[in-house]
């Protein structure tokens, strides 16, 4: 027992002290937050205000465009050619030329230096609206002001409520269920793969280093394998916890800095497309804040760690077994691919956005090799307690089986050099007929 502890300590410290560990621990969250924040920031900040000269052959659109934070409309008098020249001189960013007569819904947008991509959409949205209002008025004699008022007041608000067996409801966001499930599944996939791979690589390294025999003459191969698996797991958990903490700190920091960075977001009222989306998404989240708080976080966190741990243990022990059979990493592919196939399959299923309540996901959440990902995907939606229990039980049993199998392979594979191992050999090693 004491020796296992010595092994765990070494495996843990070696990993945690590595430069790459420290870098990935802090860089990954930074990248993640940047990936979330950058588009928002860019959409709002990078686009400067554009000045557009409007030249309408019908004079209908004159003074009907309204200025936004992104587009400023001006209606100078003059020929198209002079306006174009002024555009070339940099007095405006674009010239909008609306054609005459029954072509009044056609327009040319002249620009000299590239305007932001959203400019065309922003103008066209406004043109549509103006034409629609015009038609309403003309065809149906509708009072536009009244119509607009009606339009803003007739706004539906659907609260999604998930009910339990007694019909008691809790405020839920259906989308939130899906997103949280997908996120948990993804994280488990990444960590299981990453750390199981580390176990395999380090086993191969110990073989090619020829340190293996020195070690297994002092400790049992099983002790060594388990020590390594646990040590690496602890390093993985350390990294995960640090990353989560770091992401939270970053998000809080960014959240505080955000209003200053994107002033429009606070007052986003029917602006240009991007700001609008962000704005509504945000107000949606805040309006559903009660849904957020009623989310079964404790269950998810506990299950996340259970599935994370068991999933890792299963794959790490299998990968340790694989690592022990080969002399170099390239030879390991023939075993790695079939073993990791279930993991990849379950990831593909959740990424396609198939319903968590579907039969496929239900089965995958019970099958041990896929359940760490599939069950987490399903968990935020309703999962009967017995299914969760069964899934965990099967997973734990599979873990014991995998460790047993891998230990058999491991103790033979360790000192097997040179000869390439086949599936048939593995069978012999497991049954002890080698």
């Amino acid at each position: 027992m004491n020796k296992i502890w010595v092994i765990i300590t070494r495996e843990y410290l070696v990993r945690v002290k590595k430069k790459s560990f420290i870098i990935t621990t802090f860089l990954m969250p930074l990248l993640m937050v940047a990936m979330i924040m950058l588009p928002v920031y860019l959409a709002n900040k990078a686009e400067k205000e554009c000045t557009v000269y409007v030249l309408d052959e019908n004079d209908y659109f004159i003074h009907r465009f309204h200025n936004t934070s992104k587009i400023k409309f001006e209606y100078p008098s003059g020929e198209l050619e002079t306006l174009k020249k002024r555009c070339v001189n940099g007095e405006c960013d674009a010239v909008l030329h609306i054609l005459a007569g029954n072509q009044s819904n056609h327009a040319n947008l002249f620009f000299y230096s590239d305007p932001p991509l959203s400019l065309k959409g922003g103008i066209s949205d406004q043109m549509d609206e103006i034409m629609f209002d015009h038609s309403l008025q003309k065809e149906f004699q509708i009072d536009i002001e009244k119509y607009k008022m009606l339009k803003t007041t007739s706004h539906s608000d659907i609260q999604t409520v998930q009910i339990d067996e007694e019909g008691q409801g809790t405020n839920r966001m259906m989308e939130l269920n899906r997103v949280v499930g997908m996120l948990c599944g993804l994280i488990i996939y990444m960590f299981v793969f990453m750390y199981a791979n580390i176990v395999m690589r380090s086993t191969i390294e110990e073989k090619s280093n020829r340190i293996m025999e020195v070690i297994v003459s002092s400790v049992k191969p099983f002790q060594f394998m388990m020590g390594k698996i646990v040590g690496v797991a602890l390093a993985g958990i350390t990294q995960f916890v640090l990353q989560v903490a770091f992401v939270l700190i970053l998000l809080v920091g960014v959240g505080m800095a955000l209003p200053a960075m994107v002033p429009e977001m606070a007052s986003a009222t029917g602006d240009v497309a991007s700001a609008e989306v962000v704005g509504t998404a945000q107000s949606d989240i805040f309006s559903n804040i009660s849904a957020f708080y009623s989310f079964p976080f404790s269950t998810i966190v506990i299950c996340f760690f259970l599935y994370f741990l068991l999933g890792y243990l299963i794959y790490a022990s299998l990968f340790a077994g694989i690592g022990s059979t080969v002399d170099n990493e390239t030879d390991s592919n023939q075993f790695v691919l079939p073993v990791s196939l279930p993991l990849i399959l379950s990831l593909m299923v959740i990424v396609t956005g198939i319903s968590p309540q579907s039969t496929l996901v239900r089965w995958l959440s019970l099958i041990p090799f896929t359940s760490p990902i599939a069950m987490l995907y399903r968990l935020p939606s309703r999962v009967p307690a017995w299914e969760l229990g069964l899934s965990l039980l099967l997973l734990a049993a599979t873990f014991v089986l995998c460790v047993w199998l891998s230990a058999k392979i491991y103790r033979v594979g360790l000192l097997n050099y040179g000869k390439k191992v086949t599936w048939k050999d593995l069978g012999k090693w497991i049954t002890g007929k080698w």
């Binding site: 020796k3 010595v6 092994i7 070494r10 070696v14 110990e206 280093n209 020829r210 340190i211 293996m212 025999e213 020195v214 070690i215 297994v216 003459s217 002092s218 400790v219 049992k220 191969p221 000192l415 050099y417 012999k428 007929k433 080698w434």
Partner: protein
Amino acid sequence: MKIIEIQDVVKKFGQQCALDGLSLSVEQGCTFGLLGPNGAGKTTLIRILTCIYQADGGTILFQGHPLTPTDVARIGYLPEERGLYKKMTVSEQAIYLARLRGLSRADAVSNLKKWFRKFEIDSWWNRRVEELSKGMQQKIQFIVTVVHQPDFLIFDEPFSGFDPINADLLKREILELKQRGATIILSTHNMASVEEICDDIALINHGRVLLEGGVNDVRRRFRKNQYTITLEGDTLPAGEFPEELFEILSHHTEGYHTILLLQATPDTGANALLDYFIHRHTVLSFNEVLPSMNDIFISSVQTQNKNH
């Protein structure tokens, strides 16, 4: 008293029989040479003794009781395939391996420091293993083999890869361990070191013991009734030699001495030879020529392979 008794041990790898009912025993405090050609089963036997492999049949007694993994903790084993973690520092590595052999951290450090001082390698303490030459790494490997002061040691090809200076250092260390009463199993192809260090040997081939016993006994068993005699004078004595007693295989002179290599006839003893010369010449020295372990190794293995 016997420290290890191996009886009818069988180990099969698939169809291949690595050990085929092998039996041998090692006396406490003895330095035991485990000899044999490549693929004879030496390393397999050692791995069974260190509980890395399990035997398919037979028994192994360690100090009279069946060998258990706890006994292995008292063994110092230097494998033939030996390596170190390249990225760790020498001290971290040595402490780690010492702790795996059951030492506490404090004991590990103090024992290691002693050995490092003895080998004059204190300055390497904080170096990374990858910075060390192969010979330096071998020293570290030797130290971690003996750091837990085992009273039973197994060295598998300890001299391979050592330069003559380090090989000599290693030999002296092994002899010192022997003087302190440790039992040592030495598996090697270096026959000169076997004659120098070992008390007993076992020659194994095809998973069986071919030859066993004390080094001197074995050599005596293979004696060919040959002697060297050194006579005064720088010329070969003139005249006929009695064919019924011996024949001269070779002769040469060194300064004022003449050295003869004699093949005595089967019935002739050493005294009869000496008696013949002592009455005719001035005899300066007289020795029996025993075959070297190298000759015995080659001839025995070749004979068996031919019969196989």
